[in-house]
Amino acid sequence: MKNPILFIAFWIALLGFFAWDWVGSDPVNVHLEPPLIAAGSGRAPSGGHCASTF
């Protein structure tokens, strides 16, 4: 750790963002859980990816 103040500020900001996001986002419907392994599940991938145009 080369800059403790920046290091602490970075992690506080990051964890703060995740906490804010969790509280403000739609609740997770655990009954619609995605398959643990996509390969062989019969379901098409549905996440966003940097290579996609949509």
Binding site: F10, D26, I37, A38, R43, C50
Partner: protein, 361 residues
Amino acid sequence: MKRFPLAAVMAAFFVFLVWFVSLRQAVLFLIGIGMGSVLAGARFGFTTGWRRLIEHRDPSGVLAQLFLLVLAAAVSIPLLAAYPTDLGAALGPPSISLLVGAFIFGASMQVADGCGSGTLYKAGMGVPLNMAILPVFAFGSFLGSAQLDQWLQLGAIKPVGLVAEYGPLPAFLLTLAGLAVFAIAAMAWAGKSARWFDRKLFIGAALLAVLAVLNLVVAGQPWGVVYGFGLWFGKIATAAGVFDPATNPFWSQPVNMANLSQSVFMDVTSITNIGILAGALYIAARKSSSSKASTPLTSTQWIIGIVAGFLLGYSSRLAFGCNIGAMVSGISTGSLHGWIWVPMAFLGSLIGVRVRRHFQF
């Protein structure tokens, strides 16, 4: 910093994901931790490997990267052929935006001393410039995705996937031949006396290949980094009321609208990014006592580094991925855009190392 409390926090977050989100996301978090640990532990830098080849004629980093691509492609391509509906390749369209984006990304990553994965793991390890770059990287990634439609109007063709186009065996042989050409070119540039094998980097490459394939098998899509950054900033911009995703061609797409409204813990790319940060932090906890203090950056270096960080984010969206999304995932899943990305990013790196030298990084 102690490792045990860190491990306890990571374990607690894993249980949280299992209980409140999904088992798949918890497993992807573990895969991300593995990626961050390997990247930080082996100091597996895509940027550094290219720079060492350009400046010191040391091909060991680049050859380790090619080894990673061979291993990942050898497993990913047959898997994509076996499960064509369950697994997706990293298919980006060959386009003007790809040419421009990859070139700028290649230059910027040398100045910022980190690509997508490099910025993440170095930020996790506490490297000051990379920690400062992460937010502007996210802003650039968001802005690039928001303007992607305008860039695509300059000229683009449909994505080309070698597996769907030619079948798994020809696709793999074509990939192998292309990587062999890269390896021969790197060896020829380096000269006969150059040391080409670095054991630590090759072990890192093999482990990263395993983790990249696991990401594909579990998530159904290849490893990516920069989509998650753009999503993070997009959520902030939307919540602040300065951005309306419904009027934007990219963010109004159903998958992106859904990601904006649900927790980032549900997003595949975000959860592996979080894992990479955590894995790198864990490695840094061990290394902190022995790491050497580096010279503090000047004001000019900070400004140049931050600007490069913004350009990293913006250009990676134009290029349909960074070293991970476009190069590792693109090439290992048979996407033509990965093969266009590499030479353009390398040309950019030739400029970037000179800019880096000029500002005495």
